[in-house]
């Protein structure tokens, strides 16, 4: 069985006919040539496929494309602006937060989504006082980034990169014009506005 699905991928509206068994990940990679999200396990266990779906980080392998008609998808390829990498991507480069690069687009999307979650006050399993504003110390970053496996073992550099990006975003608080911020206000189709 097939269905036509409309997706907004990295700012471009795409209509694609998919087998109803096709995951969002396979639709992106195999149908739309959007190969930044990677397939590492297809079971939601590794996080390599992480994208921002309507502003929130998800494992694209765990949702069917047909269930996401009208959604806004941002991959690592769509995070930057005007040809420059997103500040999280810049921080990964500066801190060598990767080696083989295969988990990296997912790590980067996960970090962007995670920074938004923390900014919105969401606690994690590492949060001592869930009623307080979370402070992104190393334990918080490690916990919140643990859905993304890295077999090359770049974790300490990933934590350093996210720490740096978090400090940048704290410094940018109130700067709503930040070219690379991802907001989570609902867009008309249930999606997020991504600038």
């Amino acid at each position: 069985m097939e269905a036509d699905v409309t997706l907004r991928v990295d700012g471009t509206t795409r209509v694609v006919r998919v087998d109803t068994r096709t995951t969002l990940l396979d639709a992106l990679r195999e149908k739309l040539d959007a190969t930044a999200p990677k397939k590492g396990c297809d079971h939601g266990q590794c996080g390599a496929c992480t994208v921002l779906l309507n502003g929130r980080r998800v494992n694209a392998c765990l949702t069917f494309a047909v269930a996401q008609d009208g959604a806004e998808v941002v991959t690592a390829a769509g995070l930057g602006a005007d040809g420059a990498p997103h500040r999280v991507q810049r921080a990964f480069l500066d801190n060598d937060g990767f080696q083989c690069g295969y988990c990296t687009p997912g790590q980067v999307c996960s970090a962007v989504g995670m920074l938004e979650e923390a900014a919105a006050g969401w606690p994690s399993a590492a949060t001592g006082d869930v009623a307080a504003e979370p402070v992104l110390d190393d334990a918080e970053i490690r916990e919140r980034m643990s859905g993304n496996l890295c077999r090359c073992g770049a974790y300490v550099n990933i934590v350093a990169a996210v720490r740096e990006a978090a400090a940048d975003s704290a410094g940018n608080t109130g700067n709503t014009d930040s070219a690379d911020s991802v907001t989570s206000e609902a867009a008309p189709a249930g999606g997020a506005e991504v600038r």
């Binding site: 087998d19 068994r21 096709t22 396979d26 990679r29 195999e30 040539d33 190969t35 930044a36 999200p37 990677k38 397939k39 590492g40 396990c41 297809d42 079971h43 266990q45 590794c46 390599a48 991959t75 690592a76 390829a77 995070l79 930057g80 990498p85 991507q89 990964f92 480069l93 500066d94 060598d96 990767f98 080696q99 083989c100 690069g101 295969y102 988990c103 990296t104 687009p105 980067v108 590492a126 970053i141 490690r142 916990e143 980034m145 643990s146 859905g147 993304n148 496996l149 890295c150 077999r151 090359c152 073992g153 770049a154 974790y155 300490v156 550099n157 990933i158 934590v159």
Partner: protein, 707 residues
Amino acid sequence: MTETTADLLNAKAMGADLERVDGLAKVTGQAPYAFEQHAFDERAHAPLYIHPVQSTIAKGRVTAVHGERAAALPGVAAVLSHENAPRLTPEDDSDVAMIQTSDDRELLVLQSDEVSYRGQIVAAVVADTPETAREAARLVGVDYAAEPHDAAFSPDSADLPEPTVDTELGDVAAAMAAAAVTVDAAYSTPIQHNNPMEPHATTVVRSGGALTVFEGTQAVHIVRRILAALFSLDAERVQVIGPYVGGGFGAKGSVHAPLVLACLAATVLEGRPVKIALTRRQMFELVGYRPPTVQRVRLGADAEGRISAVGNDVTTHTSRLKRFVENAGGSAAMMYAGENRSIGHRVAELDISPATFMRAPGHAPGMFALEVAMDELAEACGLDPIELRVRNEPGTDPVSGLPYSSRGLLDCLSEGASRFGWEGRDPRPGVREEDGWLVGTGVAASTFPAFTMPGSAARIRFAGEGRYEVSIGAADIGTGSWTALTQIAADALSVPVEDVALALGDSALPAATVAGGSAGTSSWGTAIVQAARAFVDSHGTEPAAGAELTTVLKRPPDTRGYSTHAFGAQFAEVRVRADTGEVRVPRVLGVFAAGRIINPRTARSQLIGGMTMGVSMALHEESVIDPRFGHVVNHDFASYHVAANADIGDVQAYWVEEHDPHVNPMGAKGIGEIGITGTAAAIVNAAHHATGVRVRALPMTLDHFLR
């Protein structure tokens, strides 16, 4: 021509903290990996999808393959089995292929009805979508005549083959009997799976008899040689392309069955690109693993801790289909002084899938056993474990008698002790408790051989306007080759790195040896230096645009007069929850002596990465075969645990200055594997210091501490 000398390069670009030249492509997801080539290369456009059918028995024969229902499914292009697959033409070409020959039985995919392990490819479907291919594979019926199999590893069995005698010096038994202090204990490591994040993937098209193969591999030229032999093609008719590889750790160092299957499918469907990416589950059956070891280690010393006897009797297993022995005894053969030495391996032959190289083959399990035994010896002698190692530093290689080209172990121990805060450590185990956590620290040494493989070639071309193009079919599997080789080439040509454009990862480029054995940078870098020097000799420093020269590194620098190894020392802090046995590793610190460091940024990442995999080895990793069926049952990331971010604390890597003029013109030793050796031992030793419990079997799960 300066083929046999290691005239050291003047380092200008080498040593610079250069950002990865492939970094931007990776963080933005624009680096094309093998399965994604349809989006980047028109030769791979509109591919068909392959899904394998795997045997459900461990030994026996396929008596019938029922492909009719699968073939009837709309979108199915082919159903392959041994009944209709193209014939392969394997050769014993061992002089040519080096690490693998094309008559390797693992590669004879769909060539007979014989089943040698559960999970073996017995059929396959090719279809126009991945969903259809997978569903059709499910519809293929396979009848078997099963035979009794043996998939149970019984290291104590009396029926095992006789052990090999790898090293035999003096009389270990007599020396043990005469020793004032002895350690005689068994240490075990489980099956571990490489599990690179990128599952093995191939896109291939056969056109006009030629094969174009996009492959995630550590060695494009080895893949080309193997495929050319198997498919009776001139090597020039096979092109293997793999500029980006999503990790390998040895599992992509040789050819495995899925690549052969893809080429068979491409042969049947000439002109159409076909592709395969393994599922994570298939990764546990089709692309190798590290075999388990049980190591009986014997150490005998006098009352001052001077070692007189070293023994490691290793028991491990191999697939009957393809012999692979994890050489865990090699570490004990070379690491410390001692006049009496005995090393051997007993190898059980089982009806299981073939094993392969995994990061620091031999030394990862071997240094675990030896370095825990050394900690036990230190305790028995009443010595600090660093002092024990100082007292047993050999002046020359204990087996060959050769001097070391350089040996920085003691510097690493000293520097590490200072950085970690080892001094004043209370050696008593089990006496430090903080908030319900038992706290301890441990140390272990690490090592890995340094060598240069012959056979790599490099091409230097002057493009004009100060720009040089440097080409070699090397691989960057995350190791930083793109960047480090650019730096080496810049120094070899005496130009800034900005003036060098490097190409790698394509068999159309000059031949290169494997990204393995921690020998990649040494082998390729030496070839580049040789070619650059020859280029300057021929064309001077102001060459004409288009000037070009290729040389082959036939004879690496002559190190026959030396024992060449990198050394290191890891320190770990471990906390064990007193009431639950939960283990945490808040700190790991390593110091390494590996000659010149080409790029401190990527080098630090490799060393940290190796130690991180060592933490994972220590705490989590274990593949479990169910002997009733013969396959690994915990075949996914939910049950085969690799370290996640929250498992890893503060991991730091440093190195000492080490000048080694012998190993290669860069003076650099490989660093891809040494980080994993020793780390698990340091953690186990720290856990003993924390709790008083001596763990001798990995992984060090919490049940070890619940008594």
